[in-house]
Amino acid sequence: MKARKDEFPILTSQRLVYLDTAASSLTPKRVIEKMNEYYGEYPVNVHRGVYALSHRATEQYTNARQTIADFIGAAFEEVVFTRGASSALNLVALTYGAQHLNSGDEVIVSELEHHSHVLPWQQIAKKTGAKLIYVPLAKDGRITVEAFKSVLTDKTKIVALTHVSNVMGYVTPLEEIIPLAHEKGAIVSVDAAQSAPHMPLDVKQLDADFLAFSGHKMCGPTGIGVLYGKRALLEGLEPLEYGGDMNDNVEKDGGTWKDTPYKFETGTPPIAEALGLAEAIHYLSSIGFDTVRAHEHALFKRALAGLRTIPDITVYNPEADTGIVNFNIDGVHPHDAVSFFDEDHVALRAGHHCAQLLIKWLAVPATLRASFYVYNDERDVDTFLDVVRRARDFFKEIGF
């Protein structure tokens, strides 16, 4: 595919090689316009007014949810809007986890998890007396089916795993792991923050019980994310937050709740953001998720081949399945390195990427991460490689 640079205002207004999509993607013009349409043409609340404008806003908002449901192969009722992947993953732990875990139960997680898919389970485990069990990672840092089997027991009640690692770019073999978990009667929570933006996703085929992702990593706005949950599971859960919109009937001594998804969504929702996310999904679907994935992986391969020709470079994930390169210039702290990139208008990420467990597993202080998306092309990769080469020469020359 041809990179879609002219569709992104930030790329036409300044010199920028943007390689930090794994943190947040850039926003295409049509998504910005869709959100402006809401604020310009029907900027009113949903589900409340009975006047025409509110009807239009509500219709748009409802369509947005349907678009998202269709995108992941779910039913309308199974799509809960949240503030992002983090709040969606917390919602699973704070509702399903808190309402189902007992002392002695086991929750399987991994060191590949983003902090927002391990800290909530740590906290719930402490409260309920459940135990966190870590899948031992393979030599290259992957979660393998064999390693998963070695920790799966009759006590396993919940399996919380990332679909794609935000640092290593590995795809977890969930098609095999999920049926094994279900045989033991466990439910599976999937962090899809790094998969939904980059590859075809079908929650029914995957048979995930819960699955979460964020708008801002897939050409959508910040402030919105999605929790998918199987309808029967969502129906069985007590909400986490109470207030306007989520109730059916309110009495002095209690109330009754709406059906899912509304019982999980109290208060005025992020309306423009929901429309923006739906528009982003239309945009990415128009390219095709298979195409997106192949494009990113081709750029990854080009980057990897180039990095191999530069001395003093360590790549931690040469076998990545997606468009994420995780590396260091030997002897140079990533924060020193990243300023060099910044001066050359190449944006990449230095640090622990909200995955301290993995950084500890790698036994390094921090790493550099470059991640590719639909607006990147081979020239971006070549610019990146050129800067890596010059950065390496510079730091070695001054004595690092």
């Binding site: 702290h333 924060h335 020193d336 640090g351 202080p365």
Partner: protein, 142 residues
Amino acid sequence: MHQLENLYRQIIMDHYKHPRNKGLKDDPTYQTRRIKNPSCGDDVTIQSKVVNGIVKDVRHDGSGCSICCSSASVLSQRMKDETVDDALALVDDYLTMIINKDKKLNEALDDALAYQGVRDFPARVKCATIAWKAFADTLKKG
């Protein structure tokens, strides 16, 4: 590129490669403060020993990028034998130098003037300031 070169060429590489006063003292007459920057992994501990209102010794330890580690070393040299009041004033001048372009530089910062280049790298301000902030905290404790 030039700006980064200027920044690193000066004092910074010397102190990064050959840190002065590194290693902590197991001595209760020292005040200790540790600051971490969780977003990048910088982790600095500063100790100061004050006798009769005079900074007699500054020690540092930790891990992080060159700006962070070297600035702790430069600090530890510069603050020796200053009064607590003068030391705190120098910290203020240092922080001002890094954050505010328009303010006049205090030449008394001496080697620490090398860090004025950090102004051109706003994303590195935290790296250059955590050791100095930790030091000020030790004086305020004591």
